[in-house]
C-alpha cells in the first residue's frame, strides 16, 4: 500500500482535531520518544561509566629499594620495579627501564670498546630503540629519553626510597 492511499483518511481525521490537540499529540510523541531514549541511553551510560575504576589496587608509586650497601658502583637493575639504580661512589641516580616508545623493558648492554663512563647503553627489544648511558635516546623509534626518578633516604631505616611519581632532570643526583 502506498502512502498516497492512506492520506485521505488520516488527513481528514487530523483536520477534525483542533490545533491544540495536535500540538499536544506532538508534545506527547516527543516526550514519549525522549522517555524511551532515556530508558535505553541512561543504563548504557551507567554501564560504561562503571567500567572506569574508581578504586585501584595498584602498587604505590613510592617505595623502598634497600640499604646503601646493597648497591655497588655502577648500575643495578631492580626487576620488579623496572628501574636502574646507578651508584658512583657517594652519588646515586635512578633511571626508569620502561621504553618511552611502547613500554617494553629496556636492557642494559655493555659496549665492547667503551671508554670509562661510556661503556654501556640501553637497548629495547621491541622495536630497537637505543639510549645512551645517560638515558638520551639516539636511535630507533623512542620519542623521549628515559625518565629519571628522585631518590631519597628513608629517615627511619636509611634505605633508599624511589618516588616514581616525581620525574627529575637528567643532571639530578642524590649525594650521600
Amino acid at each position: 500500500m502506498s502512502k498516497s492511499e492512506i492520506k485521505p483518511e488520516t488527513g481528514g481525521e487530523r483536520k477534525a482535531e483542533s490545533g491544540e490537540s495536535s500540538g499536544r499529540r506532538r508534545f506527547l510523541g516527543t516526550a514519549g520518544a525522549a522517555a524511551v531514549a532515556a530508558a535505553f541511553g541512561i543504563p548504557v551510560i551507567m554501564s560504561v561509566r562503571s567500567c572506569v575504576p574508581n578504586v585501584l589496587y595498584e602498587e604505590p608509586q613510592r617505595f623502598k629499594i634497600g640499604g646503601l650497601d646493597k648497591f655497588t658502583d655502577g648500575p643495578t637493575f631492580i626487576a620488579d620495579k623496572r628501574l636502574f639504580v646507578f651508584r658512583d661512589k657517594n652519588t646515586f641516580h635512578c633511571i626508569g627501564a620502561t621504553c618511552t616508545h611502547l613500554g617494553c623493558t629496556v636492557q642494559l648492554v655493555r659496549l665492547k670498546s667503551g671508554e670509562p663512563g661510556n661503556d654501556y647503553e640501553f637497548q629495547c627489544p621491541c622495536h630497537g630503540s637505543k639510549y645512551h648511558a645517560d638515558g638520551v635516546n639516539y636511535a630507533g623509534p623512542a620519542p623521549r629519553p628515559l625518565p629519571y626518578f628522585k631518590i631519597e633516604i628513608a629517615p627511619d631505616d636509611g634505605q633508599l626510597v624511589v618516588d616514581m611519581s616525581q620525574i627529575a632532570d637528567r643532571g639530578w643526583r642524590l649525594t650521600v
Binding site: 572506569v52 623496572r82 636492557q107 642494559l108 622495536h127 630497537g128 623509534p141 623512542a142 620519542p143
Partner: protein, 449 residues
C-alpha cells in the same frame, strides 16, 4: 516416518511430523520437493530456493566467506568448551592453560584447534575481502533495492571484529607473549590523539596491566565481540539475500539482457501483493533459470557440507601437527627479545618501527603514525571505496574488470606492501629488532644486568 493418530471424540486424523519434515531429502525427486526443503526447514530457510551455477563455482568466490563462517563456528564451539577450564585470574590463568595442555583429555587438541582456527579465520577473512574487492562485489549491479556498499561496510566491521577477537584472546594465557603484546598494543592506543590516555586507562582498567585488564579482555573476548560479530554476520547474510545473491549474478543478468531482449518469464510472488516496488528476487528472475540456475537442495547444500568438512579437517590437521605454543609465565620485568606481535599485526609493528621521524630534536612517534594514522587512513579509504569507484554496473561481480584497473592496482599494491612488511617482521627481524637475513645466525644475547 509419518504416523497417524486417531483423535478421540470426532475421529479426525491428524498428521504428526515425519522425519522428512524435520530434515530434508538428499535427493529430491522434483523441483517442488527441493523447493519445499528450503521453505519448510528451519535451518535452510535462509538459503534461496535456486542458486546460479556461477555463484557456487569455486572459481568465483573460492568459498572464502563460507570458510570464515565455519571457522567462526569452530571457534565458538571450542571456545565455549575451553571456558569450562580456563580461569581468568592473574594467579591462575597460566596454570589453567597448562592444565588444558597437559591434564585435560583432548585439551591440547581443543586449544590448538581454537588457536589455529583463529589464525586461519584472520587469513581467510582478509582473503575474502581481497576477493570481494577484486571482483568489484561492493558495487551495486542491476537489481532493484540493492545496497552492496552497505554490505561492504558491514564486512569491514567484521574484519575489525575478527582482529579484535584475536587480539583480546591473545592476553588470556598470561604468558610472556600475551603480556608484551598487550603492553605494546595498549600503548599504541595511548598514542591516539586527545583520548589516548583515557582509552588506555579504560582498556586496562587501571594504569598497569593486571587483574582488571585480564578480566576485561576475557569478557570482551568471550561475550561482547563474538555477540557483536554474530549480529554483523546475520546482517551480512540477510543483505546478500536482499541484494539478490552474489555479485556475479548481477553480471549474469546483465549479459543475458544484452544477448536477447526477450521478456523475462513472469512469475508470481506472493510478497508482491503486500510490498511496494520490485525486489531483488524478482529481478533475479532475469537470470535464465534453466541455463544458469540449479536447485539449492541438494547442490548448494552438498558443496556447503564438503567445504565445511574440509575446513574442519584442515584446521584439525594443523592443530594436531602444530599444537599451540605456551611461553614462560608473564613476567612484567623481562621483555622477551625480540618481542614480536602475532603475524597479522607484524606489519603494524614494522610500521610502528620505521615511521618514527626525527626532525632535529623533535620526534614524531611512530606509535601515532604507524599505529593510528596509517591504519586509520587505510580504514577510511576502505570505507570510501564504494563512493570512489565510478565504474559502470558491468564491472560488478567480475574478476579484474578492465574498468576497475586502477582501483585493483592500487588495492593490490597496498596488500602487497602489507604482506612485505609482514614478511620482513616475521623472518628478517631478530633481537633488538635488528635486521637479519634468515640464514644469518642471531647473536648470543649481550650480557645483561
Amino acid at each position: 516416518m509419518a504416523t497417524t493418530e486417531t483423535k478421540p471424540g470426532n475421529g479426525k486424523k491428524i498428521n504428526l511430523p515425519s522425519a522428512e519434515d524435520l530434515t530434508w531429502s538428499w535427493s529430491p525427486r522434483s523441483e517442488r520437493e527441493s523447493g519445499d526443503a528450503i521453505v519448510t526447514n528451519f535451518f535452510l530457510h535462509w538459503f534461496p530456493a535456486k542458486i546460479s551455477k556461477r555463484s557456487i563455482a569455486t572459481s568465483y568466490s573460492f568459498w572464502l566467506g563460507t570458510i570464515s563462517a565455519i571457522l567462526f563456528l569452530i571457534l565458538i564451539l571450542t571456545g565455549v568448551i575451553l571456558m569450562f577450564f580456563y580461569v581468568p585470574s592473574v594467579e591462575r590463568a597460566y596454570q589453567s592453560v597448562k592444565d588444558i595442555e597437559y591434564a585435560i583429555s583432548f585439551g591440547r587438541y581443543l586449544r590448538a584447534l581454537h588457536r589455529i582456527a583463529a589464525h586461519l579465520m584472520v587469513a581467510v577473512v582478509f582473503l575474502h575481502m581481497v576477493r570481494v574487492f577484486l571482483t568489484g562485489a561492493y558495487k551495486n549491479g542491476l537489481f532493484a533495492r540493492q545496497n552492496r556498499p552497505l554490505n561492504w561496510w558491514i564486512g569491514l566491521a567484521m574484519l575489525l571484529s575478527t582482529l579484535l577477537l584475536s587480539f583480546t584472546g591473545y592476553l588470556l594465557p598470561w604468558d610472556q607473549l600475551a603480556y608484551w603484546a598487550i603492553t605494546v598494543g595498549t600503548n599504541i592506543a595511548k598514542a591516539a590523539p586527545l583520548v589516548g590516555e583515557q582509552l588506555r586507562f579504560f582498556l586496562l582498567g587501571g594504569h598497569e596491566i593486571g587483574q582488571n585488564t585480564l578480566i576485561r579482555f576475557y569478557v570482551l573476548h568471550c561475550f561482547f565481540i563474538p555477540a557483536f560479530l554474530t549480529m554483523l554476520f546475520l546482517w551480512h547474510m540477510w543483505r546478500i539475500r536482499k541484494d539478490g545473491g552474489l555479485a556475479c549474478d548481477d553480471n549474469l543478468a546483465l549479459n543475458q539482457k544484452a544477448q536477447d531482449a526477450k521478456p523475462a518469464t513472469s512469475k508470481t510472488y506472493s510478497l508482491l501483493g503486500i510490498t511496494s516496488g520490485r525486489t531483488a528476487h524478482v529481478e533475479a528472475a532475469l537470470v535464465d533459470e534453466d541455463k544458469h540456475q540449479v536447485s539449492s537442495v541438494p547442490n548448494l547444500l552438498k558443496r556447503l557440507l564438503i567445504v565445511g568438512l574440509l575446513t574442519f579437517a584442515v584446521s584439525s590437521l594443523f592443530a594436531v601437527l602444530l599444537g599451540s605454543p605456551l611461553e614462560e609465565a608473564a613476567n612484567p620485568f623481562v621483555t622477551p627479545n625480540p618481542a614480536k606481535a602475532p603475524w597479522y599485526f607484524l606489519w603494524l609493528q614494522e610500521l610502528v618501527t620505521i615511521t618514527t621521524i626525527h626532525i632535529g630534536k623533535f620526534t614524531v612517534n611512530g606509535a601515532f603514525i604507524g599505529g593510528i594514522l596509517v591504519p586509520g587512513i587505510l580504514l577510511l579509504w576502505g570505507i570510501a571505496q564504494p563512493l570512489l569507484d565510478r565504474s559502470s554496473a558491468a564491472a560488478t561481480g567480475v574478476w579484474f574488470h578492465p574498468e576497475r584497473k586502477i582501483h585493483n592496482a592500487v588495492f593490490i599494491a597496498v596488500c602487497a606492501l602489507v604482506i612485505v612488511l609482514t614478511v620482513v617482521g616475521t623472518y628478517l627481524r631478530g633481537p633488538y629488532w635488528h635486521f637479519f637475513w634468515p640464514w644469518e645466525a642471531w647473536p648470543v644475547h649481550p650480557p645483561r644486568f
